[in-house]
């Protein structure tokens, strides 16, 4: 092997081998904590501290892994993960999930279990007074069957007016339209409420195994972390846009034309009366009684009595 290039390649091979073999893998007292690593990445370490940190990382596999992960996060490149998918499972699992979905779709009768208002009383806006608005009663008839022609026209007009802003809200980048929320159960109620705010189509619950997802006007639920999905009949008459799950059994979902759905057992749904036919694009839920919903036109409505009364207010300035 007189070729210089081949000799260099051998050195590269040796380097990978030697660097991987000689490093310490266990944590030591000298290992960098997240704060130091972050400061190192952001240039916040002064000369001597930086030199000491670099000297440690140069020989520490553990800290190198952390630095490597940080570098990949920064550049948006995926970090390799442990995957245990073997052979036939790579195609069999999604195929089985799809088959199960089709079976459920066929097996479940498409009926409107959730009653909706026979006539929808459109209330005048009451932001100025900021007084609770009594929600209309919800008779046991389907939304589409019961709507009067006048209501239909009004709903159509409102949809046209709000479609543009709703679409903009739904298609906003991640920074402006945060994805579905979930939180560790250790967090306080206030934190739960904030984290339960959702503008995405996936609804995570504090229990990582339990989640919902919205597809058009349908809702699906998974109790195994998203491997299998069960279609849930909601009878929603309009497209659903967002949801929030403050617990593993309580879920609020909102949609266009003032659709607000609530499930307190995670399986069955009821339509919650809402005072206006306006497109709703976001929801923050504290529990089964307290929720704030955001309309596509910027207003928000809150209830603390599970939707019996709603208080309109301008959208909070985040």
């Amino acid at each position: 092997m007189a070729n210089s290039r081949e000799r260099d390649e051998s050195i590269e091979r040796l380097l990978r081998q030697s660097l991987n073999d000689s490093q310490r893998a266990g944590a030591t007292d000298e290992c960098l904590d997240a704060e130091v690593v972050a400061a190192m990445i952001d240039g916040g370490l002064p000369g001597p501290a930086l030199a000491a940190a670099q000297s440690h990382v140069a020989d520490c596999a553990r800290c190198q892994s952390l630095i490597g992960a940080m570098a990949r996060i920064d550049s948006g490149a995926p970090v390799e993960t442990v995957r245990r998918v073997h052979g036939w499972l790579t195609w069999a699992v999604p195929l089985a999930a799809a088959a199960a979905g089709v079976a459920v779709w066929v097996a479940v009768p498409h009926r409107n279990d959730v009653p909706a208002p026979q006539t929808i009383e459109v209330r005048r806006r009451a932001e100025e007074q900021n007084v609770p608005v009594a929600a209309p009663p919800v008779p046991a008839e389907t939304f589409s069957d019961a709507k009067s022609k006048k209501d239909e026209e009004l709903a159509s007009q409102l949809r046209r007016e709000t479609k543009q802003s709703a679409d903009a809200a739904l298609s906003a980048p991640a920074e402006n339209a945060p994805a579905a929320r979930s939180v560790n159960e250790r967090g306080p109620a206030r934190l739960n409420a904030t984290l339960a705010e959702a503008a995405g189509l996936d609804i995570l619950s504090p229990d990582p195994m339990v989640r919902w997802r919205i597809a058009g006007s349908t809702v699906q639920r998974s109790t195994d972390g998203g491997v299998r999905w069960e279609l849930q009949p909601t009878g929603a008459p309009a497209e659903l846009t967002a949801g929030a799950a403050p617990s593993a059994s309580t879920v609020w979902i909102v949609g266009r034309a003032g659709v607000v759905l609530l499930s307190t057992d995670g399986r069955t749904w009821r339509r919650v009366p809402f005072p206006e036919i306006t497109d709703l694009s976001g929801v923050r839920a504290r529990d089964a009684r307290s929720v704030s919903v955001m309309a596509a036109d910027g207003r928000s409505f809150s209830t603390t009595d599970a939707g019996a009364t709603w208080v309109p207010r301008p959208l909070q300035d985040f």
């Binding site: 916040g44 250790r186 934190l191 904030t194």
Partner: protein, 295 residues
């Protein structure tokens, strides 16, 4: 370390602490802790301390203090601005979304858990403002992710001695001279890398062990990727000279040194760190020559 009240007030104003109603005493304690960490027990001069404190990410520090104190507005701002960042970081760590639960779990610790004395201890107390809050959150998340990965690795069963890979390994016949050449050159390589400056070793580790790109390596070392490339080339040349000198010192002839390098080239070599983590493809994922990662 006590910090002059006037300096605290100046930092508080620079941090716009009033926006989040960050408690001043908590903010002052955060500054003191940060300075103690930075100066490692020694007492800096007043100007040095001021220069350090005013160079911190003070707005982020004030936000962290307000969140640690449980201010609602601060929390809402934090969640709305940092959650997408955390989720993107989680997805970069695990594209399957399997790390999002780690990101979610952080919020509980950030808010704080009540200890036996009833005091709420927030994870924010470890943020000292030497980086942006976003970078710190990413680092915390990355640390949790790697810890979980290591924990899962510890629970992996060892390969069965009767497994196909074990049998294959034991059935390989190794040429005695080849094994000696490999041992010699590997020992020489360890000595050569150990003698390098720390910065050069870190550059090598980022590129060859962590398999970062030149740009990513440059980010870690605060170098331009062209500088990284030149640094790697220079270090490789140094290592090569050291290797050849060491092998000659060990009594090898030029032909034998050539044979040493040939043995390295023929040797499949060990699996990389990432390959070792991926047990499902352990047999097939032999290490290859590193592709050009200049992008």
């Amino acid at each position: 370390m006590r910090i002059d009240r006037t300096l605290v007030e100046r930092c508080y104003g620079q941090a716009k602490g009033e926006r989040w109603r960050a408690p001043k005493d908590r903010f002052a304690r955060a500054l003191e802790t940060s300075a103690e960490h930075a100066f490692a027990g020694r007492s800096p001069q007043a100007r040095e301390l001021e220069r350090y404190l005013t160079s911190l990410h003070l707005e982020d520090l004030a936000l962290a203090c307000a969140c640690a104190a449980g201010d609602d507005a601060a929390w809402e701002h934090f969640v709305l601005t940092r959650r997408p960042v955390l989720y993107r970081a989680a997805d970069a760590l695990d594209a399957t979304g399997g790390s999002r639960d780690l990101a979610d779990a952080l919020y509980g610790e950030l808010f704080g858990l009540r200890g036996s004395d009833g005091d709420r201890q927030s994870l924010f107390r470890y943020f000292h403002g030497r980086s942006s809050l976003t970078t710190w959150l990413r680092a915390v998340l990355a640390q949790r992710y790697l810890d979980r990965l290591r924990a899962s690795q510890r629970s992996e069963p060892l390969p069965d001695e009767e497994s196909a890979s074990a049998l294959r390994a034991s059935s390989e016949t190794i040429e005695p001279e080849r094994e000696r050449y490999l041992q010699l050159i590997r020992a020489a390589m360890k000595r050569a890398t150990a003698d390098l400056p720390a910065r050069d070793r870190l550059r090598l580790a980022c590129y060859y062990a962590q398999e970062l790109t030149l740009a990513q390596t440059g980010k870690v070392l605060c170098e331009h990727e062209a500088t990284v490339s030149r640094g790697l080339a220079r270090t490789r040349a140094t290592i090569r000279k050291t290797l050849e000198r060491d092998l000659r010192t060990a009594g090898l002839t030029d032909d034998e040194i050539v044979r040493c390098f040939e043995c390295v080239s023929e040797d499949a070599g060990p699996l990389s760190v990432h390959d070792m983590l991926d047990t499902g493809t352990k047999d097939s994922a032999r290490k290859k020559t590193v592709p050009d990662r200049s992008a």
